[in-house]
C-alpha cells in the first residue's frame, strides 16, 4: 500500500519566492514522505496577471501545491507544459492529452472596482473536453492566497467529491529554549499550508492545548502566565483574552462543544484530575467524572451528547466514551497499554489517538465497530492529532532531527508530509473548522 517516494517538491520553490513561514526559515519544500500509487494528473497553468496586479503571488503555484499535498493529485510541472492558456478559447486539449493530463485549471487576474482584484478560473476534464466549473472571485489583493485556496477547494471537491479543506487555518505552539530562563512560548496561527503565520500570544511561561471554537472566531488554550495553569479564551477578531475562573491544581484540556456553548475541561480542584463541563454563558461547572485515577483529555462526540477521554481507571491510560445524560462509560481502546488524547471523526464511528507501540508513541486510527487499529505514523514521539474538517487528513506533532515539527497524514495512512520547521519546537497543532477565509478576517 505504501511506498517511500521521498518527493521533494522543490519545483514549486523555483516557480515562486515563498515568504517566510513558521518563523525565520524560508519555506522552500514540503517533504512528502509517502504518496499514493494512483494520483490524478492535473495541470494548473500559471494564471495571467494583468499589469495592475503583477505584484500578486502566483496563485497557480498555491493551487498546485495544495492539490499535491492532498496526495490525490500529481500536478504537471510548468516546464513540461506545451501551452499556457488563460482564457477558454486558448485551450487546446491535445496539448494536455499528449501529457496524459486528466484535468486542467486555467485562470487570470485583473484589477476590479474598489481596488479589488477579479480572478476568473475554469476547470476542464481533458478527455471529454468539458468544462466542469468556472467562477469569478473578487477580493482584496491582500487575499490572493485565500483566493487560491478557495479555487483549490472547488477543484478538489469537483474531482473527488470531498469538500476541500485548503481554506483553513492551523493553530500551534512554538517553543524556543523551553525550560531555560530564555524560554519563549508562542501561540501561532497560520494558513493550512503553514504560510502567513502570526503570533496570537507570547509568554515566557508554557502555553498548551490550543483548540478552536466551532465558529472559528475564538480559540481556547492553557497558559501558565500567572505561574499556574489557566484556561484562556481569546477572540481572534479583537484579540481580547479572557482567563476563565481558575481552581487549585490543573486547569487544562479546554475543548469547545460542537454548539460552542460549553467547554469541556480538566480540573484537579477536587483532589485529582477530573473532567468538567463549563457552561460558557454563566460559567457554571458540572463535574462529569468521578474516579481516583487520572481522567483527562476530553473531546466531544459530534452530536455534543458525549465525551471521549483518557482515563487510568483500567490501570493504564485508555480511551473511554461517556454519555452525558446517563454518565454511562464505555471503554473504546483495548489494543496496547497506552492510548490517549483521542478525537472522534465526524461520523462518530472512528477515532484517532496517540497509541504506544513498543514504547514508541504513534498516531493511530480505530474503527469503533470493527475494532481494527491502524497505525498511521512511523516516527517517534508522535502526538496531538487534529483532524482536518473534511476528515481526509490529520495534522500531528512529531520530532525530526531533535526538533518538534508538524506533519500531516491522510486518514488511510497512504499520504504523509512534513510542514517546514522553524528555529524552535513546533507542537500541538489544531486544525480549524471550515471557515470563510475570503469573507472573514481570521
Amino acid at each position: 500500500m505504501k511506498r517511500s517516494v521521498g518527493i521533494l517538491l522543490c519545483v514549486w520553490s523555483q516557480l515562486a519566492i515563498w515568504p517566510d513561514a513558521f518563523g525565520a526559515e524560508p519555506l522552500d519544500t514540503i517533504i512528502i514522505d509517502v504518496g499514493r500509487d494512483q494520483q490524478t494528473r492535473i495541470a494548473v497553468v500559471p494564471f495571467r496577471l494583468a499589469p495592475q496586479v503583477e505584484g500578486l503571488g502566483q496563485m497557480s503555484d498555491v493551487i498546485a501545491f495544495d492539490l499535491a499535498r492532498s496526495g490525490d493529485f500529481a500536478p504537471t510541472e510548468e516546464q513540461n507544459m506545451l501551452s499556457f492558456p488563460s482564457i477558454p478559447r486558448d485551450v487546446f486539449f491535445r496539448d494536455w492529452r499528449i501529457l496524459g493530463v486528466e484535468y486542467l485549471v486555467i485562470g487570470r487576474a485583473a484589477s476590479a472596482a474598489e481596488g479589488n482584484v477579479a480572478v476568473d478560473y475554469h476547470l476542464y476534464h481533458v478527455d471529454t473536453e468539458r468544462m466542469l466549473t468556472e467562477d469569478r472571485i473578487s477580493a482584496s489583493p491582500a487575499k490572493w492566497r485565500d483566493v487560491a485556496h478557495r479555487i483549490s477547494d472547488v477543484v478538489y471537491e469537483e474531482i473527488t467529491g470531498v469538500r476541500g479543506a485548503f481554506s483553513t487555518r492551523i493553530l500551534y505552539v512554538l517553543a524556543e529554549n523551553p525550560g531555560t530562563s530564555a524560554a519563549s512560548y508562542r501561540l501561532e496561527l497560520a494558513d493550512s499550508d503553514g504560510e502567513r503565520s502570526r503570533t496570537l500570544f507570547q509568554s515566557s511561561e508554557p502555553i498548551m492545548s490550543p483548540g478552536w471554537a466551532p465558529d472559528s472566531r475564538s480559540v481556547a488554550y492553557v497558559s501558565f502566565e500567572t505561574g499556574r495553569p489557566a484556561i484562556v479564551v481569546q477572540n481572534l477578531l479583537s484579540n481580547a483574552r479572557e482567563l476563565l475562573p481558575r481552581f487549585t491544581g490543573i486547569n487544562g484540556s479546554p475543548v469547545f462543544s460542537p454548539d460552542g456553548n460549553r467547554l469541556a475541561l480538566v480540573s484537579s480542584r477536587d483532589g485529582n484530575p477530573e473532567i468538567y463541563v463549563m457552561n460558557l454563558a454563566d460559567r457554571s461547572l458540572r463535574r462529569i467524572t468521578r474516579h481516583p485515577g487520572i481522567d483527562t483529555e476530553p473531546s466531544w462526540t459530534p452530536d455534543g451528547r458525549g465525551l471521549v477521554f483518557t482515563s487510568e481507571r483500567g490501570g493504564r491510560p485508555q480511551i473511554y466514551q461517556l454519555e452525558l445524560t446517563t454518565n454511562l462509560v464505555d471503554r473504546l481502546t483495548f489494543t496496547g497499554r497506552y492510548n490517549a488524547r483521542a478525537r472522534l471523526l465526524d461520523d462518530g464511528r472512528h477515532l484517532v489517538f496517540v497509541h504506544r507501540v513498543d514504547g514508541v508513541d504513534h498516531i493511530a486510527w480505530q474503527d469503533l465497530e470493527q475494532g481494527d487499529v491502524r497505525v498511521l505514523t512511523e516516527t517517534r514521539l508522535d502526538e496531538s492529532p487534529s483532524l482536518a474538517p473534511n476528515g481526509s487528513m490529520l495534522i500531528y506533532a512529531t520530532q525530526h532531527e531533535g526538533k518538534g515539527i508538524l506533519a500531516v497524514v491522510s486518514i488511510d495512512g497512504a499520504v504523509r508530509y512534513r510542514l517546514p520547521s522553524s528555529s524552535g519546537d513546533v507542537r500541538e497543532p489544531a486544525w480549524s473548522p471550515f471557515l470563510d477565509a475570503l469573507g472573514g478576517n481570521i
Partner: protein
C-alpha cells in the same frame, strides 16, 4: 554592607524559630522572657554592634537552616539540601534514597513554620501533554503527602505541575528523560 544586613536577618530568623537557640540567647542576653521581641519590630542593630557580641559567648549561634540563597542546607553544613527528586518512567513513587533529604526538609519546615514551599512536578516528553500534566501533579502531590505525613502543615505547601513543558534537559534520550522526570521544591 548589604551582605551584613542579610546575615543579621538570617540569624534573627533562625533564632526566632529554634527553641534551643532562643534559650541560649536568653541566657546570653540575661533577659527576661518578656524582653525578647517576637517580631523584629525594632530596627535591626548595626552590624558593628552585633559582631562583637558573638565572640564574647562560648556557644556558637545555632547554624541557620538556610544558605545564602535562602534555600535549605543540610543541618550543620553549608551544603545545599537536595531539592530535586527524580522518578521512574510513568511513576510517581518517591525513591528510598530521597527519604533522608525529604525527612530533613520536613524538620526544617516544621522548625520554620513561616516558610512556604512550591513543589513543581515535571515529566519527560513521552506520552501526551495533558496526561503528563496530570502525572506531574501526581509527582508533586507525592512529595507533598510525604511532607504532610511527616508533620509539615499543608498551609506551607503549594503544588504546581508543569507536565513536560519545562524540561531540565532538552535532549530526546533516556539520560535527558531521567533528568526531566522530577519534582522540585522551591522555598519562597
Amino acid at each position: 554592607m548589604m551582605r551584613d544586613f542579610v546575615q543579621v536577618g538570617l540569624v534573627k530568623r533562625s533564632a526566632r524559630s529554634l527553641f534551643a537557640a532562643l534559650f541560649a540567647m536568653f541566657i546570653v542576653a540575661g533577659c527576661s522572657s518578656s524582653g525578647v521581641p517576637e517580631e523584629p519590630a525594632a530596627p535591626p542593630a548595626e552590624p558593628t554592634q552585633v559582631e562583637p557580641t558573638e565572640p564574647v559567648t562560648p556557644p556558637e549561634p545555632e547554624p541557620s537552616d538556610f544558605g545564602s540563597d535562602n534555600q535549605p542546607v543540610w543541618p550543620g553544613t553549608n551544603r545545599p539540601l537536595d531539592r530535586t527528586f527524580y522518578f521512574d518512567f510513568d511513576r510517581s513513587v518517591i525513591k528510598p534514597a530521597d527519604l533522608n533529604a525529604l525527612d530533613t526538609h520536613a524538620k526544617i519546615l516544621r522548625r520554620n513554620s513561616d516558610r512556604r514551599i512550591v513543589i513543581e512536578g515535571h515529566c519527560d516528553e513521552r506520552g501526551t501533554r495533558e496526561y503528563n500534566l496530570a502525572l506531574g501533579e501526581r509527582r508533586s502531590n507525592a512529595v507533598r503527602s510525604y511532607l504532610t505525613s511527616a508533620g509539615v502543615s499543608a498551609r506551607q505547601i503549594e503544588t504546581v505541575s508543569y507536565g513536560e513543558e519545562r524540561p531540565a534537559d532538552p535532549g530526546h534520550d533516556e539520560s535527558a528523560w531521567s533528568r526531566n522526570r522530577r519534582a522540585i521544591m522551591q522555598y519562597r
